[in-house]
């Protein structure tokens, strides 16, 4: 899981163009949306695409997605359970 979390942090920085941040700047439990990193609905959609492309997980409900994306911790554990790749 530690590896996955690190992988996710790198992906988020790359996919969401957060070049001004490094992996150390993103904690496992801090909120990703609104406060914390301050990501928004468009970022959520990008993460949905990433989930499909890199882990084979299809998310159709943006509201369900919100809960999964709450933090790196949440996201990693969801991927762990559901990944096809």
């Amino acid at each position: 899981m530690k590896e996955l979390k690190e992988e996710l942090k790198n992906k988020i920085i790359e996919e969401l163009n957060l070049g001004h941040l490094s992996v150390q700047d993103i904690s496992d439990s801090d909120p990703l949306f609104k406060e914390g990193l301050g990501l928004d609905s468009i970022d959520a959609l990008e993460l949905i695409v990433m989930l499909d492309k890199d882990y084979g997980i299809k998310l159709n409900d943006p509201i369900e997605a919100k809960k999964i994306f709450e933090s790196i911790e949440n996201l990693a554990s969801y991927i762990n359970k559901n990944r096809l790749r």
Binding site: L16, N17, L18, G19, H20, G38, I42, L45, E46, V49, D52, K53
Partner: protein, 342 residues
């Protein structure tokens, strides 16, 4: 009854070193390649990193020049934001299109699609300023910028706005640019200046202030004009605006066969007028005439015509009134007349 429209400030990002550079005339770059990229500033000082991360080049150029023009014009919040763009957000449009085709409609980026709408730059400027006022985008090839100018004139005469932010913006794309070059190089009659990009914003106001540069005296657009009629149409335009003497004429020569329209003017009606070109230094793009206007204002400020843009080496005692003429492949004609007030 048309109210006076003052041009109070101007800002440029182009393939020349024009952003916040008062000494641009001293070092004009002569581009040798077929494509000339814009010289961009360090945006991190102008736009915050959370917003900037998603922005395409055209949006960054647009916001930087918009903010600069507003600052120079001493305006906190414009009453209207009007943009003209010929091809819109080309890079993101192409990326999205390419992904659709190559990935068979899978794993597409929402950001690229959102960024591809033509009014992205105008709306991002509004978002950045939290400006809830009138916001419009014109997308009509080489008169996109002039349509934006006409709208700002109209808003002022309707008493709907006093301070307007108006700009012309275009960016180079990817394959579309390469394919354009192929078309242009197919025969000897194609465009001979680099294909380029840029963003030029101006503040137009119903009120004169200490920074005011010039008055936008008149502007006219035409879908088509025959070769035999261009001098006549120009004469009518000047007459309508009560001008019979022009100090400088700025023309959109780009090396292609339709430069003949400009030649008719430079050989006859404006034979003895200082003639200036700009696309040899700005490159050609749909809204390159906004560079032309920016250059016109620089000529007024500096009262000097750099040799790189001078066509006939005739000097003017005072550069007061400037006429700009542009067209693209025999359509989308524009006449713009400005008069100095400095």
């Amino acid at each position: 009854m048309n109210k006076t429209c003052y041009i109070n400030s101007a800002s440029s990002i182009s393939s020349q070193n024009t952003f916040r550079n008062n000494n641009f005339f001293e070092k004009i770059i002569i581009h040798k390649e077929k494509i000339a990229n814009a010289i961009e500033p360090n945006y991190s000082k102008i736009i915050n990193p959370i917003s900037i991360r998603r922005m395409s080049k055209i949006t960054k150029m647009g916001i930087a020049t918009a903010k600069s023009a507003l600052k120079k014009g001493n305006i906190m919040m414009p009453d209207a934001i009007i943009t003209g763009t010929g091809m819109g957000c080309l890079k993101d449009s192409e990326k999205f299109l390419k992904s659709i085709i190559e990935n068979n409609e899978k794993f597409l980026s929402p950001t690229e699609f959102i960024q591809s709408t033509h009014n992205t730059v105008g709306s991002q400027i509004a978002l950045n300023l939290k400006c809830k006022n009138y916001n419009m985008t014109y997308v009509h090839g080489s008169i996109s910028f002039e349509l934006a100018l006409i709208d700002s004139q109209l808003l002022i005469s309707e008493n709907q706005a006093n301070n307007i932010l108006v700009g012309g913006i275009d960016e180079l794309g990817g394959k579309i640019v390469d394919d354009t070059l192929v078309l242009e190089n197919d025969n000897e009659n194609g465009i001979n200046v680099p294909l380029s990009e840029g963003s030029h914003f101006f503040t137009i106001s119903s009120r004169k202030n200490a920074n005011s540069l010039a008055i936008l005296k008149g502007i006219e657009i035409y879908h088509k004009i025959s070769k035999n009629d261009i001098s006549n149409k120009l004469n009518l335009f000047l007459k309508k605006n009560k001008f019979n003497k022009i100090d400088v004429i700025i023309l959109g020569f780009n090396g292609d066969i339709w430069d003949k329209y400009y030649k008719i003017l430079t050989d006859n009606l404006f034979k003895n007028t200082p003639q200036v070109q700009y696309k040899n230094i700005s490159g050609e793009f749909s809204t390159s005439s906004s560079f032309g206007l920016w250059l016109g204002l620089e000529l007024i400020k500096k009262q000097n015509i750099p040799k790189e843009v001078s066509l006939n080496n005739i000097k003017s005692n005072k550069i007061n009134t400037i006429l700009l003429v542009n067209q693209f492949k025999g359509t989308q004609f524009s006449f713009v007349l400005i008069e100095s007030i400095i």
